[in-house]
């Protein structure tokens, strides 16, 4: 019964999505507002039914309804409750349903906040009526296509009879982690949320003109998904680190790139929106970035689900799905870019700022970010390009990305420290240099000092290049703090609006610092160990204490306990696991990790050897947590920026 209801709810949601998209067009013809109201109601109905459908799917998992093919493939009667909920989006069909739910959810929130905005404590500026109507139409169009795709090519409610004691194929062990519950929804809240920014841009192009408030109204709808996406990427990286067992946190895998690309584009976009909000310039560029950001989200979806690229994340390949997504991508983004080409000359604004100004810095920022997008896109697509031209077949890996991406980012980070100290419109080089001179020289000093100090004081290897990363993050942190200090004591400018920028920039600096230190000073050892043996790494000794067995709902596990000791400290125990999942006799090594925020000690069991010994990999990873801590600061900065919106709004109303 439940699967039928879920399926039926998808059909109803599709009808609502079509009404949402078509009714206003009729309204334009008839000149009646009623149809626009209908469209809004339909959008809300669509969200309710899609959410109902997702709940039905989760219920199917909770009931272990093995007649549903999707449940059969991703669940098992022994699978713990928590992962049965997560399994609902552990495969292609279910995650696409989640995609649709989140898209309609964003539409719902947009309608809610725009119409009732002022009665909420966090209020957003609603766009003008004309823009608002068009945004709803565009979102309805996007949604209709995806629901059609979901229903006809990837229906999660397809059933299979007879059952004959099927117990289910179970969720892949790697997915059986709390990460599954949070990572995909966070990521999708990000990707899918950019649809609203896209709709804002297309609506403005359709309208043919842009109001002064456009950038201000659009900004929260970029910042909010951007914070979710930052958090989603960080969660994914953390998950990979904990689960995959070789201590890596970023692999330049096509699917990781697919999430990084929209993030970079959105970062460029939100900086342009800040300029647009304050100075009403760069509209053409901003509109293009809004389209590109959503296009990259869709391209990511396409790459993951079509099987064009090989990746550890890829879903089951199916050419019809790929073809549908490709055609839809061509229609949506191609249409938007065509419209852009035809209309963009109307948006030209004469620049009224000088070369050395905040505007220029932010423009350069977005150009650099877009360059980074292009280089990653080329690296990711290069194998397909060569293959399509019938040239050799290759795979592009970490060396390419590190060589190309790192220098581009260094340039960007250098500017990032400077930009806040450059005023809008026009600036003077000597005033600017006086402001940043001390901070700049300190950072330069640290660049050379730190690698030297590290090798002398802590007896690490001497890595002069690490100094660049350390120096540049110091530069950002010090210069941002200096700006914060000035802003705090400023009479004319309030502090709160700057707080989001301050937190975000420091977050990025922390991530950069974490990456640099971790890449340069991490240590690892791989060896054979028997019970009772001791090895040392980075000043710690690891003693293999004991092996014990334990039994859980759907797996047996072998627990290897190690005593970790630093000279003159009492030992701590570290437990690494070797799990055997009952459903498939699949083995899975779960590393043991000890952290104190400054460093991680990471130990993974390899294979058992005939003489009872084990191969063991031990890693010492300094500052690795900072990489993710920086990412969480980005999430916080997103919310701070909304708070700041509320502050401004209130002021606006009080005046």
């Amino acid at each position: 019964m439940i699967p039928q209801l879920g399926n039926f709810a998808i059909i109803l949601a599709l009808c609502f999505a079509l009404i949402q998209c078509i009714a206003p067009l009729y309204g334009y013809a008839k000149q009646q507002r009623l149809y626009f109201q209908l469209s809004r109601t339909a959008a809300i109905g669509q969200f309710i039914f899609l959410a109902f459908s997702l709940v039905s799917l989760i219920l199917c998992f909770l009931n272990n309804d093995m007649s549903v093919f999707y449940v059969q493939q991703h669940s098992h009667r022994l699978l713990p409750l928590l992962y049965r909920i997560g399994a609902a989006w552990g495969g292609h069909e279910g995650s696409l349903l989640l995609w649709c739910v989140i898209l309609s959810g964003w539409t719902f929130v947009f309608i809610l906040l725009s119409s009732l905005g002022n009665s909420f404590s966090i209020s957003v500026l609603p766009p003008t009526q004309a823009i608002h109507d068009k945004i709803i139409i565009i979102l309805g169009l996007i949604s209709s296509g995806f629901i059609i795709f979901l229903f006809f090519t990837s229906n999660p409610f397809i059933r299979i009879f007879p059952l004959n004691g099927i117990i289910g194929e179970d969720l892949t062990p790697v997915l059986q982690d709390p990460g599954l519950i949070f990572h995909p929804p966070m990521l999708y809240l990000g990707y899918v949320g950019f649809s609203i920014g896209f709709a804002f841009a297309v609506a403005a192009l359709w309208e043919g003109k842009i109001e002064k408030t456009w950038a201000k109204a659009c900004k929260p709808w970029i910042i909010l998904p951007w914070s979710f996406l930052s958090c989603g990427i960080v969660l994914g990286s953390w998950w990979a680190y904990r689960e995959l067992g070789w201590g890596g946190w970023w692999f330049w895998d096509p699917v990781e790139n697919a999430s990084l690309l929209p993030w970079l584009a959105a970062t460029a976009l939100l900086h342009c929106l800040i300029v647009g909000e304050k100075r009403q310039v760069f509209y053409g560029w901003t509109l293009l970035l809004a389209i590109i950001t959503f296009a990259l989200s869709l391209i990511g979806t396409f790459l993951v689900r079509s099987g064009v690229l090989v990746s550890v994340h890829a879903f089951a390949n199916d050419p019809t799905r790929g073809l549908f997504l490709l055609l839809y991508l061509a229609f949506l983004i191609g249409g938007a870019l065509m419209l852009y080409g035809c209309r963009i000359h109307r948006f030209y604004q004469p620049p009224h700022f000088q070369l050395f100004s905040r505007e220029t810095f932010l423009l350069i920022n977005s150009v650099i970010l877009l360059t980074a997008v292009v280089t990653i896109l080329i690296g990711t697509l290069y194998p397909i390009i060569l293959d399509a031209l019938n040239l050799e077949k290759i795979s592009v890996g970490e060396p390419y990305f590190n060589t190309v991406f790192v220098p581009i980012m260094l340039l960007l980070l250098l500017l990032m420290g400077a930009a806040p100290h450059v005023p809008w419109r026009t600036a003077h080089v000597h005033i600017f240099w006086n402001k940043i001179r001390t901070v700049f020289l300190i950072s330069l000093f640290i660049t050379f000092l730190m690698p030297f100090a590290y090798s002398k004081l802590f007896e690490f290897e001497y890595h002069p290049l690490a100094g660049i990363g350390i120096g540049i993050s110091t530069w950002i942190i010090l210069s941002t703090l200096k700006y914060a200090y000035q802003r705090w004591h400023s009479q004319s400018l309030p502090f709160l609006p700057a707080s989001a920028m301050i937190v975000a920039h420091i977050g990025i600096a922390m991530t950069v610092l974490g990456i640099t230190i971790n890449q340069s000073y991490a240590q690892e050892r791989q060896m054979k160990m028997s019970i009772g043996e001791t090895v040392s790494l980075a000043g710690y000794t690891f003693t293999f204490m004991q092996l014990s067995k334990s039994s859980h709902a759907n797996f047996e596990t072998l627990l290897a306990t190690f005593a970790v000791k630093k000279a003159h400290h009492s030992p701590t125990s570290l437990i690494a696991e070797q799990r055997i999942y009952r459903s498939h006799d699949q083995r899975f090594s779960k590393p043991g990790i000890l952290t104190n925020g400054w460093r991680d000690l990471y130990l993974a069991l390899g294979t058992s050897l005939p003489d009872g010994a084990w191969t063991v990999r031990i890693y010492y990873k300094p500052l690795v947590r900072w990489i993710w801590a920086g990412g969480f600061l980005l999430l916080i900065s997103g919310f701070l920026s909304l708070m700041n919106y509320r502050h401004k709004q209130n002021n606006y109303h009080e005046h």
């Binding site: 852009y340 080409g341 899975f588």
Partner: protein, 178 residues
């Protein structure tokens, strides 16, 4: 209309065309980064004789095919007949790498489907497979007489891809040796 303004559109359409071509291609044939590299160092216990091991030392002096398989992989079962067939030829050594599997199950499975392998290493955790750059099962590597990886095939071997892809490479390696 100014063509410059349509530049984003044109670029985008060329990407779409690229994807279109990409859909018709076989991404699984993208070789591993290990191509033309010496086999990675490893050491795995043998399935039928755990006291001995399969290691990178076993790849010298003859052409080797390394087949990655597992009992939980249904495609591997389909492939097994063909492996038995080609194992009769004496042009190469066929090794198996039992990936993320239970040794007892693996023995039962081989008893049922047949054992074409000269040696089988058990990689219970999949750590060695990571070093080989294995995406999944089945996968087959061709390694030359000097222990250098020359080809990787993802997916089941069939008489079709054997004749057109793998056999020519083996023939070429034999020619090189002479």
């Amino acid at each position: 209309m100014n063509i410059k303004r349509l530049l984003p559109f044109i670029l985008f359409i060329s990407i779409i065309v690229l994807f279109w071509r990409g859909l018709g291609l076989h991404p699984n044939e993208i070789p591993s980064p290990l191509m033309n590299e010496t086999v990675p160092q490893f050491h795995l216990p043998l399935l039928f004789n755990p006291a001995h091991s399969l290691s990178n030392q076993d790849f010298y002096g003859h052409i080797t095919l390394l087949n990655i398989w597992a009992t939980w992989c249904s495609v591997c079962a389909e492939e097994q007949d063909f492996l038995l067939q080609i194992a009769k030829q004496n042009d190469f050594y066929l090794y198996g790498l039992n990936y993320k599997d239970d040794p007892a199950q693996a023995k039962k499975w081989l008893a049922h489907y047949g054992n074409p392998y000269r040696l089988i290493g058990i990689d219970e955790t999949g750590q060695v497979a990571i070093d080989w750059g294995v995406y999944g099962t089945p996968e087959t590597f061709i390694i030359d007489q000097k222990g250098i990886i020359r080809y990787k095939h993802v997916g089941a071997l069939t008489s079709n891809n054997w004749e057109t892809e793998l056999l020519p490479i083996i023939k070429k390696l034999q020619m090189e040796a002479k």
